[in-house]
C-alpha cells in the first residue's frame, strides 16, 4: 500500500479532528444539527477534499484517499449520534423535572377512581363451590324455583300427607289444585329432573335458590340458597359418599380439614347421614345432609335401582358465606346496602 502523505491527507485529518471537537462542543440539539450540516454539507471541508479526489492521478492513491474520506464521515456520524443522545437526555431530564407530579395526590383524585362492582357474597360462594365440584368431576344442573308437588315431595319418597313433609315449612303457590305448586323448599327436586333428563352416569351439583315459610332473623331467611350433589353410577357405595364428602372438604376448606358422617334421616336417602366438618381447632361444624339415594327416588327418576345406585348431599350456601366473612346477621347479606357490599371485593 502506498501510504504517501499528500496535502489532502493532512487536510482530511485536520478536518476530522476539528469536526469532532465542534461536535463535542455543541450544547444544544439545534446547534449540533448546524455544526453537523456545516461539517458534512456541500461546502464543508470534507466535501472539498472529496471534490479534489479527481485530481489524484494515481488510482491506488485515489482509492485510498476515497476510503479515508468515507471513514472520516463515519467517524463524524458516530460522534454526532453520541453527542445527540447526551444532549437529548439532558433536554428530556429538564422536561421530566418540569412535569413532576405528586402521585399520591392523583391517586386520591376522583378521576382515577375506577371501582369495580361486587358480586353478591352468595354468588361468590356459589361460584367457589361450583369450581371445587367441577374439579372433582361434577357438572352443574339447574331447575325451576317454582316446583310441582311431585318434584318437591312425591318423587322424593314423600307421597301426599307423608308426615316428613312437615320437616319443611312450605310456601304454596296458588294453583288450580290446592297445594300442587310450591316454592321449592330444597334443591332436591333438581335431582329428579336430572335423573329424568340426563343419561347416567350422573355427577352433578345443583345450586340454587330455595324458599321456606320462616320469619327472617339473624340466622334464617325465607329465601336462601342451597347446593345439592347427586352421583348416579353403577356400584356407587356409601364409602364413595364419605370419600366424596372428604375430598370436597379438603378441596374447599383446606387440607387440614376433615369430615365425618353421622346417622340421620331424610325420606329421600337410605342410609341417611348428616355431615360435619372438623376445623383446625378440633371443633365441628354441622354442614348438611346426605345419603344413598332411596330406591323409590331412583324409580321416580326413571332409573332401575338394581342397575344404578347413587348418593346425594346438600347444604346451605348462605351459611358458607356467613362463616367465611364473619357475618353476624344474615339479613345484612340481603339488605343490598352498598355500605355492606363495598367491604367485599
Amino acid at each position: 500500500m502506498t501510504s504517501a502523505s499528500t496535502p489532502e491527507h493532512g487536510q482530511l485529518a485536520q478536518a476530522l479532528a476539528d469536526g469532532i471537537v465542534q461536535i463535542r462542543e455543541a450544547t444544544t440539539s439545534d446547534q449540533l444539527r448546524t455544526v453537523v450540516s456545516a461539517l458534512t454539507g456541500k461546502k464543508g471541508p470534507i466535501a472539498s477534499i472529496k471534490s479534489s479526489l479527481g485530481k489524484v492521478s494515481d488510482i491506488e492513491a485515489r482509492k485510498e484517499l476515497g476510503q479515508l474520506v468515507n471513514d472520516a464521515l463515519a467517524a463524524l456520524g458516530v460522534a454526532t449520534d453520541g453527542r445527540s443522545r447526551e444532549l437529548r437526555a439532558a433536554e428530556f431530564s429538564s422536561q421530566i423535572e418540569s412535569e413532576r407530579v405528586d402521585m399520591t395526590e392523583i391517586a386520591m383524585s376522583a378521576n382515577v377512581e375506577r371501582r369495580l362492582g361486587r358480586m353478591h357474597l352468595v354468588t361468590q360462594a356459589m361460584e367457589r363451590l361450583e369450581d371445587v365440584f367441577i374439579g372433582l368431576g361434577f357438572q352443574i344442573a339447574e331447575g325451576p324455583e317454582v316446583e310441582t308437588d311431585f318434584y318437591n315431595f312425591e318423587a322424593l319418597n314423600m307421597p301426599p300427607s307423608h308426615p316428613a313433609r312437615s320437616m319443611w315449612d312450605t310456601l304454596f303457590v296458588e294453583s288450580e289444585v290446592d297445594g300442587s305448586v310450591v316454592l321449592r323448599t330444597h334443591t332436591s327436586p333438581v335431582q329428579i329432573r336430572v335423573m329424568q333428563d340426563w343419561p347416567p352416569p350422573i355427577y352433578a351439583v345443583m345450586p340454587g335458590r330455595v324458599f321456606r315459610k320462616e320469619t327472617p332473623d339473624a340466622t334464617h331467611m325465607p329465601v336462601f340458597h342451597q347446593i345439592e350433589g347427586l352421583v348416579i353410577d353403577r356400584g356407587i357405595t356409601f364409602a364413595d359418599l364419605a370419600g366424596t364428602i372428604e375430598s370436597f372438604t379438603k378441596a374447599f376448606f383446606g387440607p387440614g380439614f376433615t369430615s365425618r358422617l353421622r346417622p340421620s334421616y331424610f325420606p329421600f336417602t337410605e342410609p341417611s347421614a348428616e355431615f360435619d366438618i372438623r376445623r383446625h381447632d378440633g371443633t365441628w361444624i354441622e354442614l348438611g345432609g346426605c345419603g344413598m339415594v332411596h330406591p323409590h327416588v331412583l324409580r321416580a327418576g326413571g332409573l332401575d335401582p338394581d342397575e344404578w345406585s347413587g348418593f346425594a348431599f346438600g347444604f346451605g350456601i348462605d351459611r358458607m358465606a356467613k362463616e367465611r366473612h364473619g357475618i353476624n346477621d344474615i339479613r345484612d347479606m340481603y339488605s343490598d346496602d352498598v355500605r355492606f357490599t363495598e367491604q367485599f371485593s
Partner: protein, 782 residues
Amino acid sequence: MKILFSILREMADLPNDPDAVALALNSLGLAVEEMDVVGVPVPGVVTARIVRMEKHPDAAKVTRCFVDAGDGEERHVWCGATNMQPGDIVPLATLGTTMPNGMEIARRGILGIDSEGMLCSEVELGLSDESSGLLILPAESPLGVSPFEVLGIEHDVIFDLDLTRNRADCWGHLGVARDLAAHFGMSLRGPRIAGTSSGSAKSLDVLIDAREQCGSFTISYVSGIAVGPSPRWVASRLAHLGMRSINNVVDASNLVMLETNQPNHAYDADVVSSFRVRLANEGETLTTLDGQTRTLHTDDLLICNGATNAGVGLAGVMGDLHSEITDKTKALAIESAWFSPDPIRYSAIRHGLRSEASIRFERGTDPNAWQQAAERFVTILRETCPDATLHAGATVVQTASCPVPVSVDVSVKRVESLLGIHIESERIVSILNSIGFVTTIKGDVVTSIVPTWRPDCTQDVDLIEEVARHFGYDNIGKTVPNSAVHGRLSNMQARRRILRRVLVGLGLDEAMPSPFLAAGDLATVGLPEDNVLRIANPLVAEESILRTSLRPGILRSLKYNQSHRAPQIGLWEIGHVYPKSDQQLPDETEQLIIVVAGGDVQTSLAQWNAICDALSVGTQLDQSRIPAGLHAGRSATLARGKKVVGVVGEIDPLVLDILGIEGRVSVLEVDLSVILNEEPKPVQAKDINRYPSSDLDLAFVMDDSIPASTLQRALRQAAGKQLVSIDLFDVYRGKGVAEGFRSLAFRLRVQGVEATLTESQLAELQKACVAAATKAGATLRA
C-alpha cells in the same frame, strides 16, 4: 326429647360415663342437642325447722328467722322470702357453703345483726329455673340432713335429643336404651317390673266402631288404688323430663309413657266400665283436660263410655276433663291403644293440641307394648298403693288396621354393594338381633322379622342403615368413585359467568332483593299485574306476589341506598321471574336488570354494548315500541327480528317521582334465556387488508322523526364491502339547522378490497352514499 340417664341405666348396664353415652348417642344418629347435669347435692345445705320469726322495725322487706338444724343450736338468719311460717322445714345453707351459682355463704349482717346462713329456694339449689319463695320440705322431714336426700332427688343427667322423624321408638327411654345397649354390647333389661301378681280375671267390654283408625284397644283392670302423692323419685324424674307431678296414678301413667313410649290413660273403672271407640258426631263437644271445650270434627276419633256413649277422651290426643280419676277412685281401667298415625296427626292439628300422646301416636307406636306398659304402671303404683293388683283377663281388641310384624330380606351382597365394605353375615345377624330383629339366615339372604316398635323399617335399605349405624359410619371407610364424566360449566353457565364479570367490570354491584312483591308494587313501576302468581300462605301480605319483573325489587334497593347517602350507585341482578302461564308451572325465566342512579340513556346503551361485545350477541334498537314504565322519549326495546329480548333506556320520571328517587335512573333489562343459551361459532380470521384506507366525512341534515340508524343503514349499504367502519362523530341541532332537524356527521373509513381506491373511485363512493342518504330522507349538509 328429654332422656334421663338414670332411667337408661335402669334399663341396661351402660357405662357410668355420661360423656361416653352422649358420644354413642351421636354416633347412633340420636343427636344430643344439650346435656344437663341436674340434682347435684350441695354440701353444707341441711334441713332446718323455722322455730320462730320476727320482723325488725327498720327492715320491712326482710324477716328474721330463728332455725333449728337439729344440732340443738338456734341460728339466726335474715330471709327475704315471704312464703314460710314457723314450723316449716326448709333448706339452710350453712356458713361456708358454696352455692351452685358460685356464691359463698358468709356471715353477713343487716342493721348490725349477722345472718348465720341462708334459707334456700329451688332456684338457689339448682333444682329448678323458677320458684316462688323458699323450698318448703315435707313436714316430717328429719333435721340436719341433706334436703336432696329428703326429697329423693337423684343426681342425674338429662340428654336432650334431636330425634329424627323415623325413630318413633326413641320417644320412649326404652328405644334409646335398646340402641345404647346394642352399641355397648350389653343386654337390655327394659323397665323394672315387680310384684304385679295378677288377681282374678277381670275384663271390661270394648267395642271398636272406627276400625280403620283404631288398630288395637286394650283395657287392663287394676284394683287396690289409693290416690295420693307420688313417691318423690317419680315426681323428680317427671320434673327432670319436663312434666308436673299430679298424683300417683297420673304420674305413673306419664312416666310409663316416657319410659316405654306407650301412651296410656287411666279411667276410674267404677265410672267407666266399658268402652267404645268411634268417630265423633257432627257438632259433638268434649272438654279436654286443659279445660277447653272443643267442638269435634267427624274425622276425630273419640273414646266413649260404653254405657252412655258419651266421650271420655279425644283418642290419642287428650282425655276428657270430667272423666279424670278422683280421690275416691279405687280401681283403674288402663287404656293402651294403637291408633293409626294420620288421623291422630290431623286431629291434633285441627285442635291445635299436640300432646305428649299425639306426638307419639302420629309417629307410630308399638301395638304390642301395652302389656309391659300395664305391668310397669302397676309396679310404679305399688310403691304408694301396696295393694294395687293387675288383674288377668285384660281386654285386647285388635282390628285389621293393627300393624303386624313384617319380614324383610337383606342380601349380604347388597349390604356390601351399597355400603362399600364387606360385613360378615354373622355380624349382620348379630347387629340386627341386638336391636330386636328376629333373624334367620339362608345362603346370602338374612330374613328378619321387624319388631313392631320399628314401623320405619319396611325394606332392605332400611335394615342396611340399621347395620351401618351399629357397625359405625366411621368404620365404613372413604373411597372416591371413578367418574367417567368431565366436570365443566355448560355453555350457558360459562356465559353467565362472563356476564357477571362484565357487570363487575362496569363498576356495578350485585343486588339480591326479595323475589316476593306486595300488591301494587308492579303497578307502581308501571308494569301490569294481571299475569302474576300469588303465594297461598305468605308470611306477610307484603310478600304475597311472585315477581314478574326484577324492576320493583331493584328500584327499592336503589331507593334504599339513595336515602342512605349513597346516591351514585349502579346495581344489577340476575334472577328468575315467574309470570303465570297456561301450564301448571309459571313461565319461569332468568333475567338481567341493571339500574344506575344518575345514569341516563347513554349509560344503559354503553352497558348493553359492552355485554353484546363480551357475549358476541347483537340486537336492534326499536324505539317505536315504548316499554312500559320507561321514559317514553328515552327508551327502546331490544329486538332480535320480531322477538323482544329486553328493554333499554331510562325509568319513567313519573315512576321515579312516585318512588321518591332523585335524578335520572338508567335501566337495562334482558331476557337471559335467549342471550345466554346462544353458542356463537368461532369467528373465522380474515387476512389483514394492507391497502391504505381513506376517510369520507359526510354531514347530513335529517328530520328528527327519522332514526339515525336509518341513515346509518343506508350509508352502510351504499359503501358496501369497501366500508371498514362507520362512526357518528357529531350530532348538531341549532343555528344553521332548521327546527325539527339535526345534523348528523358520519365518518366512513373505506378501503379497496383488491387495490388502493383511486380518487375517482372515492368520488363515486361518496356520490353513492349521498344518493342513498337522500333516499333515506337526509340532505347533504352544504
